[in-house]
Amino acid sequence: MTTPPPTPPTGGIPTPGPDTGAYYRPDYSPSEKPRAGINPANEETTVLTPVPERTGALDRIPLGERKRWQVIAASLGGLLLVAIGLTIYLWISSDRWSARADALEGEARDLGSRLATEQEYVVQQTEQINILTQQLATAQQRITELADQTAKAGDDVAFAQQEIAYLTELSSLGGSVSVALNRCVNEQKTLVGYLQNSSAYSASDIAQFKASVDALCRAAQSANSELQNQLAQ
């Protein structure tokens, strides 16, 4: 049997209806009531395709359509696997972040506790420093006072040494004056003796002795006057 070449239906492209399995039947009879939208006048020019032996619902799906659904199913399966992987990853990540947060909170509490301890220590040390600062200031003041007293004492000692030296000098001078005055008195006594026994001595010797006694007594009186002046100062 030869198949005539396909001729496009003149009544327009038939609209696919519900899949009844009878639309392409070859034993189609013109006496049967045509479906709506099909022009019976053109029935002879419609190309008919033989239906294969297997007639299951999946077999009736076109091959291209079937591949498309297979790809979609495979893709959905892949996506499901990815979603499962992501879920596991996020689970683990969340668990570890939670553990880290717990550890950090523990560290924060430990640091807070140590900080509080250190703050108490700082307060105690500050108080100690204040006390020590006051003690140091007191000690410094005392050192300065003692240094001043030591220096003043040194001044007093130096001054006293100068006074002692001066008094020693005055004492020495007084001794010399005393000796000179004693010699003056003694020599004058001797002169009086000479004068009482003047016949035994020449007048010139007596006059010379008297002059030497006068000079000695003037020197003694001068030294005495100087001593008196220094004592008066």
Binding site: S75, I92, A137, A147, T150, A151, Q162
Partner: protein, 239 residues
């Protein structure tokens, strides 16, 4: 279809890139190391709490020939100190005492006629020496004078530099500097310190307006660099 797969793969890869990373391990120590240590603080204070300026300043006692006088000086090295010439004149012995009352005998003295400056040598070493400034202070600069006014306690006064004037005692070559710091007899020879603690002058006189006069550090530096200007002084009476 293929394009859809590529888009899906790209979305998956992009989504993986946007995923949060796993947490890094915790650091072993959350407390940073201290950036300072006690050794970084210089020995500005002695163990007894006195600063360098107080420790380098000494009290000078001139046991003169029939008189006793006091003044101030400061160490420029461990055996040498600077004071005024009029502080050591006509002395039979010179003694210096430190801030803590330690007394040291002077062994030699030198002075100059170019300024009221004298240099004293001591056998015993002193721990702190003054740092001399490189230049004279400017008008308006804040200064600090530390010394033993009236031969009393170690005292610190402050003021500013008023400017260069002629020496009111006509004893110095060149100008001297007037200051507003109040000093007393006994402060002669006191070091004048700038804000950095460097010696910028030596107090030697005052006037009735309670202004003090100092020999600028440049003059002292010149004298120290020209030994021939310093004439030895005999520490004995009758010279």
């Amino acid at each position: 279809m293929r394009r859809a797969l590529l888009v899906a793969a790209a979305l998956v890869l992009t989504g993986c890139g946007a995923l949060p990373d796993l947490p890094p391990p915790l650091p072993s120590d959350f407390v940073p190391s201290p950036t300072i240590s006690p050794s970084n603080h210089g020995p500005l204070l002695s163990p007894d709490g006195f600063d360098a300026a107080q420790r380098m300043t000494v009290r000078v006692r001139n046991v003169g020939c029939g008189f006793l006088a006091t003044g101030t000086g400061f160490m420029i090295d461990e055996h040498t100190l600077v004071t005024n010439r009029h502080v050591i004149e006509d002395s039979s012995s010179l003694e210096v005492s430190t801030y803590d009352g330690h007394v040291i005998e002077a062994t030699a003295a030198r002075s100059t006629t170019a300024a009221d400056i004298a240099i004293i040598r001591v056998e015993e070493s002193l721990p702190v020496a003054a740092k001399l400034a490189d230049r004279d202070p400017q008008v308006g600069d804040a200064i600090t004078v530390i010394g033993y006014p009236e031969g009393g306690r170690l005292t610190t006064t402050s003021g500013i530099v008023l400017g260069a004037v002629e020496d009111p005692l006509n004893g110095s070559v060149g100008a001297v500097l007037g200051t507003s710091a109040q000093v007393e007899p006994g402060s002669s020879g006191s070091p004048v310190l700038n804000a950095d603690g460097e010696v910028v002058g030596v107090i030697y006189a005052k006037n009735d307006a309670d202004q003090s006069f100092m020999i600028p550090i440049s003059t002292l530096q010149d004298l120290l660099s020209q030994e021939s200007l310093l004439i030895p002084q005999q520490i004995a009476c009758g010279t």
